[in-house]
Structures are given as C-alpha cells and as structure tokens.
C-alpha cells in the first residue's frame, strides 16, 4: 500500500494561514512589543490574500472545495481580519489587554471561517465552524477584568454550544437518511430515492437552519447577539459582526443550494418568515437602544435579514447579491466600529450614543466619517450600502418576491431613524463635555480604507459586481 500525498495546492491559503497563526503564537513568547505581532499578522494575511488567487480545485475527495464562491468569501474574511487588526492595535492597549494571543486567536478564527467557506462535506463544515466559534468565544471574553466581557463570552459559548448541538443533530439525521455527509452525495441520494417529501429530511433542514441562523444572528436565534456585541471588546465586536456572519452565509448558501437543492421550496418557505422576523426584530428593537454597540448589534441582525432575501431567491444571481452585500457590509460596519473604537479612552467608555453629542464640533472629521457609515448602513446613495441593498432587492424581485422586497424596504426606511439618530446627536446637539479621541495611525488607515471603499463602491460598483459575478460562475 502506497501512501499518496493528496494535492494540497487548493488549500494553500488555509495552510499558510495556519502556519501564520502558529508562528504568531510562538512569536508572542519572544516579542514584547505586540504591535510587531500585529504587523506580522497583517503581512502574513496579505500573503494569504495573494495565494487566494492561486489554483482552484478540490482536495481530500471533494471534502474541501476551492472555487470562486469560496474565494470570494475568503476575500471578505481577509478584509475583515486586516481591518479588525488595524482597529485593534491601539484599542487593546487602551483596554489593558495587549496580549499576543489576541492576534493568534483572530487568525485561528479566520482559518475556521475559510474552511467553512470551502467545506464540501458536513464534517469539514462542522470542523471549521467549531474552530471559528471556539476562538471567537475566547476573544469575546478577552477583557478578563471586565465582568461584561466575561458574561459575553459565557453567553456566547453556552448558546453557541447549543446551536452546535442542533447542527450535529441535523447532520446526523441527514447522514442517517442518506448515508452521506458530502453535499453532492446527499443531493444525489435525495434525488435518487425521491426523499423530497420526507419529514425527517425537513426536520434536518430545520435543524441546520437553526444552527446557521445562530451564526448569522437571524431572529429568533439572535438572542445572544446584543449581549455579546455589547460585552465583547469593540474590535472583536467589529470582527465577529462580519466574519462569522459571512461564514454562516457561505455555508447556508452552499449547503442549501447544493445538498438540498431539490427541497428548495421547503427551505425557502422556512427562510421567508425567518427573514421578515429578523428584519422586524433588528430594526424595531434597535430604535430604542442607547448603547451604540448594542444598536449596531440589532442593526447587524437586521442586515442578516436583508441578506437572507438573496438566499431565498435560491439562484446564482441571489447568491452573488448576498456575497456583494456581505463584502460591502464588512467595509461599512467595521468603518463604523473604527469610529466607535476611537471614543474609548482611558477611563471613558464612550459607548453611549449620548457621548456622540456635538462630535461634529469637537472632531469634525470623525463625525463626517461616522455620517458616511451611518448613511451607508441605512442604504442611501451614493454609498456602498445602497448598492448592496439594490442588488439584493433586484435579485429578489427577479425571482418573484416583490412583496417581500416591499416589506424589506419599509423596514429599511424604519432603520433610517436609528442611524439618523447618531447623525443627529453628532450634528444637531451641542457637546456637553469634550470627548477625547484615541487616535492612532493604524486606526486612521482602517478609517481611510473603509471610507474610501464605501464611497468608491457606492459610485463605481462595477468592479465589485464583476468580482461577485465571476465568483459565482460555475457554482
């Protein structure tokens, strides 16, 4: 028997990322200046990004798929990790938790997401999901001396474990029914035996929906999000409002579109009420929030609702619109968090929206950036948020869900109120006390990148649209 070494070239980015994470973990012992570790991490991630455009293909007998779809999501993760690290460098020093593991954990979590995006098999999917989740649990509780951070980690962990159980239950049901864990095998078996109407299959679809719904923070599986977002370090809130959500959508799209392609009607009917509920809960509850991180938590729930429309369409155009949406969401949401991070200074939390009163007077630049991100999150042109929403709505209407889009735009108009409220506090109130901003070069770069991206994509969306369309080809 000869041992064959499988062709690993499709998973080069993941391998590199793992190596990078391990190196960072080791370097933490040697290097005292943690900023250097951050720089090394970013340089490494940039290298990974370069390898993303390397050879496509499958590895381990279709368990791992590297295609345009996964590559696009990995690009989102790379953007996410770089921007999150940029806003972290100063912030974790201010929080007094400047430990090197922080960066290693972010990298490990990202590896998990990348594996999820590439998973062609439910077992691999679970592997990636747990790697991502476990690292994020730790990161959520990274401010050890803060009780809220601890609460966030524990809550996230308990509920996350619960959702993993649902996932495993779902997987085992599917396996019991079809005898397969790889997505194409499942699809083939369902078709062959005509299991479309099978009740257990429907049950497993529901279980998987629960598990993925938890990751993307869709109502009614969103309960963890506000507390965790509020308690976690702000930079991590930014990180996990984008990364795990995008990863959740990646698996949602792939599993439902490939494995359960023939039960489309069923899962679309499950997702439609889910998405309406998600938009409703996110947008309506956000109206009454006074903590900006909590407000953005609900906003993040709401955005999951909009993005779900693209999945509901159950076609490639819809998927492309979701991918496009998530990329845009990464820029605008992390941009907003980059402003929030600046308000945190020694002995000042800066999380209440009242802290933004009169910001335009004391710090006009920060205020105008926040304004851009808030309008982008609302979806007002000429910002990227509008393009994202437009594409999703367009594909949903094209698939015949006009009424659902009407519901979505109404909620989107409601959402204007709470985003505008931040703008209103910044521009239309007088400053009560002077807020000191913690500025840093790295955070400035993050703000620059995100603001330029939001405006550029808003005015010239062609590049991103082309990218998303090319990525979905042959899915």
């Amino acid at each position: 028997m000869t041992l064959q070494i499988p062709d690993l070239s499709p998973m080069m980015p993941e391998l590199l990322m793992t190596a990078l994470a391990l190196i960072v973990l080791l370097l933490d012992l040697l290097i005292r200046k943690k900023e250097v570790i951050a720089l090394i991490s970013m340089a490494g991630v940039a290298l990974v990004a370069f390898y993303l455009f390397g050879p496509k293909g499958t590895a381990f007998g279709n368990m791992f798929i590297s295609d345009g779809y996964s590559t696009f999501f990995k690009l989102i993760f790379v953007v996410n990790v770089i921007l999150s690290v940029l806003i972290s460098i100063k912030y974790i020093a201010v929080e007094g938790v400047n430990y090197g593991e922080y960066y290693a954990l972010i990298l490990f979590s990202t590896i998990g997401m990348m594996i999820m995006a590439s998973a062609g098999d439910l077992i691999v999917l679970y592997l990636g999901l747990e790697l991502m989740a476990l690292s994020t649990y730790v990161l959520a509780g990274f401010i050890r001396h803060d009780i809220k951070s601890n609460e966030a980690a524990l809550k996230y962990f308990l509920l996350g474990a619960f959702s993993s159980a649902f996932l495993l239950y779902g997987i085992s049901l599917v396996y019991g029914l079809t005898g397969a864990t790889d997505l194409r095998g499942i699809a083939a078996f369902i078709n062959e035996r005509g299991l479309n109407e099978n009740f257990s299959l429907l049950l497993s679809v529901i279980f998987l929906t629960v598990a993925f719904g938890f990751k993307i923070a869709a109502a009614p599986f969103h309960m963890w999000a506000p507390d965790v977002y509020e308690g976690a370090p702000t930079s991590i809130t930014a990180f996990m409002s984008v990364g795990p959500k995008a990863a959740g959508f990646a698996v949602l799209g792939r599993v439902f579109m490939i494995a359960f392609a023939s039960v489309k009607v069923d899962w679309a009917h499950i997702l439609i009420p889910l998405s309406i509920l998600t938009m409703a809960v996110g947008n309506i509850v956000a109206l009454s929030q006074t903590n900006i991180k909590r407000m953005l938590a609900y906003s993040s729930i709401a955005h999951a609702g909009y993005a779900l429309l693209g999945i509901i369409t159950a076609n490639n155009e819809g998927l492309a619109s979701v991918m496009n949406y998530l990329m845009i969401y990464a820029f605008m949401n992390i941009g907003a968090f980059a402003v929030i991070v600046m308000l945190r200074s020694e002995g000042f939390k800066g999380e209440s929206i009242y802290d933004y009163e009169g910001l335009s007077k004391t710090h006009p630049l920060a205020a105008v950036l926040m304004l851009i991100f808030m309008f982008s999150l609302t979806g007002i042109p000429p910002t990227a948020g509008f393009i994202g929403k437009l594409y999703v709505f367009m594909s949903a209407i094209n698939a015949g869900y006009t009424w659902l889009v009407v519901v979505a735009v109404i909620f989107s108009a409601i959402s204007a109120y709470f985003y505008l409220r931040v703008v209103m506090y910044m521009y239309m109130r007088e400053p009560k006390e002077t807020v000191k901003l913690t500025t840093s070069f790295s955070n400035g770069i993050a703000l620059g990148i995100t603001a330029v991206a939001v405006l550029f994509i808003g005015i010239m969306p062609s590049y991103l649209l082309d990218l998303a369309k090319a990525a979905i080809k042959g899915f």
Binding site: M394, V405, Y427
Partner: protein
C-alpha cells in the same frame, strides 16, 4: 438614438453644471475653518459660475423639438446596463435654470445669518444644488434615484443643524417621510427595469407598453415618492414643519426647487411610463389636488406663524400644479409646469423676504409685526409684488399659471375647476390679510427702527422680481420651451387606446 440630440457645445454643459458645485464644495472643504469670508466667496463664485455656465441651456435650446437636448451618455455600470445619461427637454430645462439661480440667492441670503459651522453650511448648500440639478437632468432611472436620494443627506443637515428651535423633529420627519416614499419607488423602478428587459434608460422604457395591472401598482409606488415630495394632501404634513424650521436658505431650496421634483416626477415618469394608469387615476388625482388647494388655503387663514403660513400656501399652490398636470390637456399641463416655475420664484421670494425680517427680529410670529411699511418701505414694496404674484394678479406670473391651469381644469372636470377657483379667492384673502397685519396697522414696538434692506438683500430679491414680471407680461419666452415637449407627452399619454371597460376591470382587480 433618435430621441436625443447630443450635446453640441464645446463642453459637457450638463455635467459641468452638476459637478461644478461639488467642486466648489471640495474647495471649501480644503479651505481653513477660520477663513469664513473666503468660504462665502467661493460659494458665491461657484454659484455664479454655475449659473453663467448653465445660461446656454436657455439661449441655445431648440424649442422646435421634444427631443432630449444637450445629451451626454457614457457607460457607467455595465453589469446592470446603467449609463451615465443626461439630457434636458422643455419640461426639465427651466428647472435646471431655476436651480442654478436659487443657489446664488441662497448663498446671498445666508451671508450674515449663518454664523455657526459656516464651512459645512455652504458645502451642504452646494451639494444640494448639485444633486437637484442632477435630478432634473438624469435620463437614467438609476442615476435619477441616486441624485433623488443623495439630496436628502445635505437637506437633512441643513434643516437639522441650522434650523429653528424645533429643527430636529422637523429634519427627521422630513427625512423619514421622503425616504418611505422613495424606497417604494425604488421597488417600482426595479420592477420596471426587469420588465423592460433590464434597462434603466428612461427613453427606452417609454417606448414600451406595460400591462395595466402592473401600471396600477407602479402608479401608486411612484405616487408614494412623488406625492410626498409635492406634497399632495394627505401626505403633506412634513412640509409645514420642514419649511418652518429650516433656515431661510433651506426654506428657499425646499420651496423653489425641492418640492418641484415631485411634480416633475409625475411629468417625467408617471404620465409617460404609465399612461393608462394615469388616465384611470385622473379622478383620484384631481380630487386630491382640489382638497389640497382648499385645505391648504383654509389652514393658512388660521396660521399665526409667518413661515408656516407660507408653507401651507405651498400646499395650496402645489395643488394647482397637480391639478393642471392631471387635467391631461395642453393648457393644464403647460400651466402646471409654468406654475411650478412661478411657485418656485414667488414662494422662494416670500421665504427670502421672511428671512430678511427674521434676521432682524428673530421672531416669526405675525403678531410681533405691524406697521412695517413705514419702517422698511423698500422691503414692503418688494413684499407687495410677491404677495400679488402669489394671489395671481394679472401682469404677474401667478396669473398666467393659474389661468392656464383653471382653463385645463375646467376642460377636464367642471366641478374641479369651480372648486379650485375658490382656492384663489381664499388665497387672496389670506395673503392680503397677512400683508395688512404685517405692513399696515399700528407699528409694533418690536419693529421700530429696523434698517431697511441692504444691497445684498436687494440683489438677492431682484432676480425674483424681474422673473415675476417677465413671466407675467411675456410668458411666451418660457411657454415656448414647453410646447413641443408637452405636446409629445400628451400624445404618449393619450395613445394606447385601452377601452374604459378594461380600465375598470383592472381597478377592480387591484382593489381585490
């Protein structure tokens, strides 16, 4: 394309007019915060330059054709078949000119009255101007929507940052009202886009016929956006608040241009794209217009706040505009468009005038004034002219517009014509009564010794004054722009030949 005449001038005139204000805003952005005077001069210079550069639109316009002129076309987002496509016809060209003129006036009138965040203010004014012009020039639905929505951002800030005591409430109300309408229109736009074979090109969309049921739905989707902007009764309630609380320049922009965009939307989109639905909905629209006319006028009689009164008079006057538009005949339509222009000039001028005394007294209460005619004689004569124009006295522009509209209105529905005429009578009542309370009677202690208008203020009112008489005495130099385009529009609306029975059936279907 046979429907357009490409731009023949040496420079892309429409793009220049749209983006020059943005350029001015960037210059102001780079300017130092403490150099406020330079900021103002940049703003004024940009405004004047934009106006001068837009002048060829007036002089070089070919009145003999309904085709889009000065057109520019570039590929923009090929994935969605979106083009950067600009052009003006007889209906839109006048509003481009009105917008560029308004920008100058707004800068002039804010010169001394804006004291905080001066830089941001002029940036907001210039950006609003740019987006407004963009709305009138866009021939691509996506581009149109982009400008339409983008304009909300600076306008929201203008009302909310520099407005009166209740400004935040007014700003948010304004934003949410218009946003809800706009997003519903967005759904309508996407539906049209997909149905018409994925094109956002308005001219191409107009060559198609849409199923009647779909037209009905789309009509109401568009109605949501346009009626809110006009504003038509019963979705007018944002207007009194926004007008009242906005700074003078904001009120002027709102009155002169922004609310015209709603009526323009009806003309540009609802009528030609959805002709059958428009015809079927005429009774409803006429009813709403008449209610708006009378309701607005009656409410005016009860106002104690100067700006609020003029705001409600806008509701009444814009009722005339929609009445003219949905009379769906040549007099009504031309009158409607001309009245849009008139209302922009007259109500804009009235808000300017109110701003001038407000700067001096800082009160908007009518009861705080009185006897102003002896204190500020020049001012009171200007105000008199605008009052008479608002009433629609012959030889002023208001007369021409209202006369044409009533002519059209009578042809369409006698009852609507009669009822609308009562609006004019009440209008004369509240305006003259207002004039009496402010300028005659006993001189109020609060206005004793106020200085009369200075040169800057006079200059900002003179163009309005000239336009009042120009349109009033020789309307043909403006109506001439309209004939060909309006004729073409009417042909489009009146062809299609669906029988009444089918329309009735479709209404039942929609209702069900």
């Amino acid at each position: 394309m046979e429907q357009v005449i490409m731009n023949q001038l040496g420079y892309p005139i429409l793009s220049t007019v749209i983006f020059l204000p943005v350029f001015g805003a960037l210059l102001i952005l780079l300017n130092r915060r403490s150099w406020e005077l330079l900021t103002k001069w940049i703003a004024l210079g940009t405004g004047i330059a934009t106006f001068l550069l837009s002048a060829p639109l007036f002089t070089n316009f070919d009145m003999s054709t309904h085709k889009m002129q000065f057109a520019e076309r570039h590929i923009w987002i090929p994935d969605w078949n979106i083009n950067y496509f600009l052009g003006v016809d007889g209906i839109s060209v006048l509003f481009v000119l009105l917008s560029t003129l308004t920008a100058i006036v707004c800068v002039l009138i804010s010169w001394d009255s804006i004291k905080t965040k001066v830089k941001e203010f002029y940036i907001a004014i210039l950006l609003t101007t740019s987006f407004m012009i963009g709305v009138f020039c866009s021939l691509d639905f996506f581009l149109f929507y982009l400008f339409w929505e983008a304009m909300l951002i600076p306008m929201f800030l203008i009302i909310g940052v520099w407005g009166g005591p209740n400004r935040i409430y007014a700003a948010i109300k304004f934003f949410l009202y218009t946003l809800v309408g706009s997003v519903l229109m967005l759904v309508g736009i996407i539906v049209l886009y997909l149905y018409s074979g994925k094109t956002f090109n308005i001219l191409e969309m107009m060559t198609m016929t849409y199923p009647l049921t779909m037209q009905m739905w789309l009509f109401w989707a568009f109605f949501a956006a346009f009626a809110v902007k006009v504003p038509m009764w019963p979705v007018h309630t944002w207007l009194p608040d926004a007008h009242t609380e906005a700074p003078t320049a904001g009120s002027v922009i709102l009155a002169a241009v922004l609310i015209k965009m709603g009526a323009y939307g009806f003309l540009r989109f609802s009528l030609p794209l959805l002709p059958e639905a428009s015809r079927a909905m005429t009774p409803v629209m006429l009813t709403l217009s008449v209610i708006g006319i009378i309701y607005g006028a009656v409410i005016c009689l009860a106002q104690t706040d100067l700006k609020r009164l003029i705001a409600y008079s806008s509701v009444s006057h814009m009722g005339f505009v929609t009445l003219g538009i949905f009379a769906l005949n040549i007099q009504g339509l031309e009158g409607g468009v001309l009245q849009m222009l008139n209302h922009g000039v007259v109500t804009g001028a009235l808000f300017l005038s109110v701003g001038i005394v407000y700067d001096r007294t800082h009160t908007r209460k009518i009861a705080d004034y009185g006897g102003l005619a002896s204190v500020m004689p020049i001012y009171s004569s200007f105000f008199m002219v605008f009052t008479l124009a608002a009433i629609g006295l012959p030889a002023t522009n208001g007369f021409i517009g209202e006369f044409l509209i009533l002519l059209g209105g009578f042809t369409a529905s006698k009852l609507a014509g009669v009822l609308a005429s009562t609006g004019i009578i009440i209008g004369a009542g509240y305006m003259l009564w207002l004039y009496q309370r402010i300028f005659f009677m006993e001189t109020n202690k609060k206005v004793v010794g106020l200085p009369d208008m200075n040169v800057r203020e006079t200059i900002s009112l003179i163009p309005m004054l000239l336009l009042v008489f120009w349109i009033g005495v020789y309307p043909n130099s403006f109506l001439g722009f309209l004939h060909a385009s309006v004729q073409h529009l009417l042909e489009r609306v009146n062809t299609g030949g669906i029988q009444e029975a089918n329309i009735a059936k479709a209404i039942v279907e929609v209702v069900r």
